[in-house]
């Protein structure tokens, strides 16, 4: 059974070695916070890793065992339900997003994964009739509380959308937009520095450094998406949410985005919604499988793809539906 599913994880066209997934998984296991309860409640695939216990949802110091940087989750969602008018789009979902790790949300269309992602920076506020219940914390702070300014929240939790949506401004202005509104740079030189650094991190600098004054909308789709990532990076967020960032792109541009996600992982907590299971397998260390508004399974990506606990997960990743 494991043999049958192996090709899914190895069948990658990404520039970094496909064995990376397994390696990440092994390395990551050491750093799992204990509150990852539901899905750690089973035998570990490999021996000699961090002892897993079903523990209270508070981080404990002994998480740092085995030398791995175990720590509290960057963001924690607790029994989140979302309603669009009368219709319930998401049912009682709890999940943690960790620093240094990419969490992928997968599932068939309409399963609520994008809706869930938009809860983390309160983008559902912009949809009239949408109602979110439950608690989401960023570094232990309730993001829906009155003390949390949504403007600051969104500066800390950036987002990249499905369709590249650069502003109809120059490439420079697109990236400088966030730093400007948040007053991150006083001098022009500082701003230029931020723009350059962000474009470099987004892997776009070499392609656009000679034409920063050109319109961002004149770039190719893949470049536009990396521009949007640079734009999100420019405000120095702690978490980056990506809503199917490569679904509108061709395979080469997709590979670049995936490579970029891989590189950004060290710096930001990343949550990515994807339709593409291979992509989830390639870029993520944690995978959450959603179906019909419910979280079916959440665990290490290597486990989800090689040894899922739930039959529905297995049916989905083997392509029986979805």
């Amino acid at each position: 059974m494991t043999q049958e599913k192996q090709p899914i994880t190895t069948n990658s066209a990404v520039p970094f070695p496909s064995t990376a997934v397994a390696a990440e998984a092994a390395r990551d296991d050491a750093g799992i916070a204990k509150e990852d309860t539901a899905w750690t409640d089973r035998p570990e695939p490999a021996a000699g890793l961090a002892p897993i216990t079903v523990a209270a949802p508070t981080p404990e110091p002994q998480d740092t065992a085995e030398g791995a940087p175990g720590r509290a989750p960057k963001m924690r969602a607790d029994s989140i339900s979302v309603f669009y008018g009368e219709k319930q789009a998401l049912k009682d979902v709890s999940i943690q997003i960790h620093e240094d790790r990419v969490t992928a949300f997968i599932g068939p269309s309409g399963c609520g994964k994008s809706t869930f992602l938009r809860c983390f920076n309160r983008m559902n506020d912009t949809i009239s009739g949408a109602r979110v219940t439950g608690r989401i914390e960023l570094d232990g702070e309730d993001i829906n509380s009155a003390q949390m300014d949504v403007v600051h929240l969104r500066a800390r939790v950036g987002m990249v959308f499905q369709k590249p949506n650069p502003f109809p401004k120059s490439i420079f202005e697109n990236v400088a937009y966030g730093p400007r509104i948040h007053g991150l740079a006083d001098k022009k030189a500082d701003l230029e520095g931020i723009v350059e650094k962000s474009l470099k991190r987004a892997g776009l600098w070499d392609e656009v450094k000679d034409r920063l004054a050109e319109s961002g909308t004149a770039l190719s789709g893949g470049q536009q998406q990396r521009l949007c990532i640079a734009r999100a990076i420019a405000v120095d967020p702690e978490v980056i949410l990506m809503d199917e960032p490569a679904s509108a792109l061709d395979p080469i541009a997709t590979a670049k985005i995936e490579e970029l996600i891989h590189e950004l992982r060290g710096r930001y907590a990343i949550a990515i919604v994807t339709h593409n299971m291979q992509q989830a397998a390639r870029v993520s260390q944690r995978t959450a499988f959603f179906h019909l508004g419910e979280l079916i399974e959440y665990g290490r990506t290597s486990d989800i793809f090689t040894n899922p606990r739930e039959e529905r997960t297995q049916d989905y990743i083997t392509g029986r539906y979805g």
Binding site: S128, A155, F167
Partner: protein
């Protein structure tokens, strides 16, 4: 036989022929043939062929009819004795026609009574010719179309062609009317420019269109420098009105599209559109009776000695209010056309709603907003009632909004009101003014449409 009767006869023939055609087609189907078109289409086809050609003929005949009758009456023995003086002659002919058609009992001129029977018989004569031709044409059309009713005949596409012809005709009428208006404007303007040099008209700063009736009359030199008029028009319509309409219209559009909850929007938007439904004459007396005195008082309080009760400011303010719905609905459309994804992108970066609007939505919507503003300007400078009532008649070249200025449209009204002789430059100047105004608004509209179209291409 009157032409009305001919008309009824044509319609009756067409109806009967349609019935026959339909029955013939139905009969073919009854006989087992597979019809290309439904029987009702065959009926319709026959009807169109029987009715439309004679109707067209009658439409052309009617205007010719009167000329033919008049000619024949003048050529008759009684008509030969009419006086040669054209005015008297025409008066008698008109009276005779009115007696002949029963519109009046007796004429003022005794000759008309003599002429009436001649008139009556000639009219009947030509009505017979016209009516007869129409009926013949109807019969011929019906017969021809009936012979075409066959199983394989494509009556449906035949009807389709007639429908297309009708649509082409309708649009042609609109285009030809526009062309006619432009040409009449052009020819009258050319007459004017043959009396007043175009350079003097376009660049002169003296406007005093009163012509001397007698050679020794003083003070009426007839100066046709239209610059003060166009300045007044621009000052009121393109400057003061826009200073009012652009911010208010834009802000209300932003509120309606970005901030107002759906319920409030559904109330406010129609309320704003009521502004567009107020007749301009109502705006006019609002400007003249309410706003203008208030503006004059403000001007006097501010120490502007020349504050007039008919000021550019009063007319411009009210015109700006009138234009708000136009600016706001165009801005509304173009703001709503900015993709939500762009707004989301900005909001997700931690921008507030107003920052998003200011820095992303408005710049993206700008071409559409500019297009709307240009259309509003062209509407404002062509607007007449408000400025006639509130702007005054003094052709001043002034920057002081409290002073009275006059506009092109106001002057056209002045030049053409009352009894006029259509061979003096004073009257013809109205056409030249109209022509220049038309050219300006045409250019503005073309630019606006192009800007708006370019913008649409960018987002769809």
């Amino acid at each position: 036989m009157s032409l009305t009767l001919a008309l009824a006869a044509v319609l009756a023939i067409a109806a009967a022929a349609a019935y026959l055609g339909r029955n013939k087609a139905a009969g073919l189907r009854g006989g087992g043939a597979r019809l290309n078109s439904l029987p009702s289409y065959h009926g319709g086809y026959v009807f169109l062929w029987a009715a439309l050609p004679p109707l067209l003929l009658l439409a052309i005949w009617l205007p010719i009819h009167n000329a033919l009758v008049e000619q024949a009456v003048s050529a008759s023995p009684a008509g030969q004795q009419l006086p040669d003086f054209a005015m008297v002659r025409e008066a008698i002919l008109t009276e005779a026609r009115e007696i002949a058609t029963g519109q009046r009992e007796a004429g003022f001129n005794p000759e008309s009574a003599k002429l009436a029977p001649v008139y009556r018989s000639t009219m009947a004569h030509y009505a017979w010719i016209g009516g007869g031709l129409a009926i013949l044409l109807a019969l011929a059309g019906a017969a021809w179309a009936l012979t075409r009713v066959r199983a394989s005949f494509r009556a449906r596409s035949g009807v389709e062609r007639w429908v297309m012809g009708a649509l082409v005709g309708a649009s042609l009428i609109a285009i030809l009317t526009t062309l006619g208006i432009v040409l009449s404007l052009l020819f009258e303007s050319l007459r004017f420019f043959s009396m007043v040099p175009p350079a003097e008209f376009l660049f002169g700063t003296q406007w005093s269109p009163q012509m001397a009736l007698r050679a020794d009359q003083a003070g009426s030199s007839g100066a046709f420098g239209s610059l003060p008029l166009f300045w007044g028009t621009v000052f009121i319509g393109a400057i003061i009105a826009m200073v009012v309409a652009i911010p208010l219209g834009l802000m209300s559009a932003i509120f309606l599209t970005q901030y107002a909850p759906a319920k409030l929007r559904s109330v406010l938007k129609p309320a704003l559109e009521i502004l567009a439904g107020i007749p301009t004459v109502v705006y006019g007396y609002f400007a003249a009776l309410t706003v203008a005195p208030a503006v004059r008082d403000i001007g006097i309080n501010l120490g502007v000695g020349s504050a007039s009760s008919e000021s550019a400011l009063a007319a411009g303010l009210v015109m700006g209010i009138m234009i708000i719905p136009l600016v706001s609905s165009m801005a509304d459309d173009s703001i709503a056309a900015v993709p939500q994804s762009m707004r989301d992108g900005s909001l997700a970066l931690g921008a507030t709603r107003s920052e998003t609007i200011k820095k992303v939505v408005l710049p993206a919507a700008l071409p559409g907003v500019v297009g709307g503003v240009l259309l509003a300007v062209s509407r404002a400078i062509g607007e007449t009632m408000i400025v006639v009532m509130a702007a005054g008649l003094a052709a001043n070249l002034t920057l002081n909004p409290f002073e009275s200025v006059t506009t092109v449209t106001t002057q056209i009204v002045q030049l053409l009101t009352g009894d006029q002789e259509f061979d003096s430059p004073k009257t013809l100047a109205a056409f030249a003014l109209g022509l220049v105004l038309f050219v300006i608004t045409l250019i503005l509209n073309l630019i606006a449409l192009r800007v708006v179209r370019k913008y649409r291409e960018a987002y769809e």
